[in-house]
């Protein structure tokens, strides 16, 4: 099972770019890398998913080096509302072919005014 390692917490200031790096040394060939955001007392919300190189959407960018053993979530110009826990996930395929995630403890991002 591919596991991930993330910093436990990070602080940033409003307007700054935040980069959260995740290590997944045992990533398998077919695994995708997915990031979620979770606010207190809410379910995780999908942010971005990628396989290699760079993926960008309206809220974030995901950078994946060629060896895929790590990935970096980049949040441009964070605001106070970006204070949340961010999870990096690497999928694992059930024997039935269904995709399964292993959730770690995530990175607690605190954005300061």
């Amino acid at each position: 099972l591919a596991k991930t390692t993330q910093p436990i917490s990070m602080d940033s200031y409003e307007g700054q770019e935040v980069n959260i790096t995740c290590s997944h040394n045992n990533i398998a060939t077919n695994d995708y890398i997915t990031w979620y955001q979770q606010f207190p007392s809410q379910g995780p919300r999908f942010i971005i998913q990628g396989y290699k190189t760079k993926v960008t959407n309206e809220v974030a960018s995901l950078f994946i080096p060629a060896d895929r053993k790590s990935s970096t979530l980049s949040l441009p110009r964070v605001s106070l509302s970006d204070t949340a826990v961010y999870y990096c996930l690497v999928g694992d395929i059930f024997t039935s072919g269904t995709y399964k995630y292993i959730f770690g403890t995530g990175t607690r991002l605190k954005v300061l005014a």
């Binding site: 007392s41 809410q42 919300r45 999908f46 403890t105």
Partner: protein
């Protein structure tokens, strides 16, 4: 668009009482469905997943059971709750093919007294 509903949002139950949490998905067919539990300050633990009606797989031995009586309905149950069953329970769905992100409901906060 697809939506997922969980209820109730909060629940307080005495030890030894039964439990039934319901999750329904709208706007999609034949989704994969998941139940997770999150302890305070921790990551999510996958409890059950289902790839179709009546098909339930358990990830960890526990005091809970799950059922899928209809395509878009997923129920988490217990005959006798334990103190250790307290937590934040989250339902999620994904499309049936692999490598697709999961989408979470808003969760149920369960407190056992």
């Amino acid at each position: 668009s697809q939506t997922i509903h969980q209820w109730p949002a909060t629940l307080v139950q005495p030890v030894g009482s039964p439990l039934s949490l319901e999750c329904t998905v709208e706007g999609t067919s034949n989704p994969n469905l998941y139940w997770y539990r999150q302890a305070a300050g921790r990551g999510l633990q996958l409890l059950f997943y289902s790839v179709g009606i009546g098909q339930i797989s358990s990830e960890v031995p526990q005091n809970l059971s799950a059922s899928r009586p209809q395509d878009r309905q997923f129920i988490l149950s217990s005959k006798k709750l334990l103190l250790s069953d307290s937590g934040f329970y989250l339902c999620a769905w994904s499309v049936e093919r692999g490598n697709q992100p999961q989408h979470f409901g808003d969760g149920t906060r369960l407190s056992i007294l």
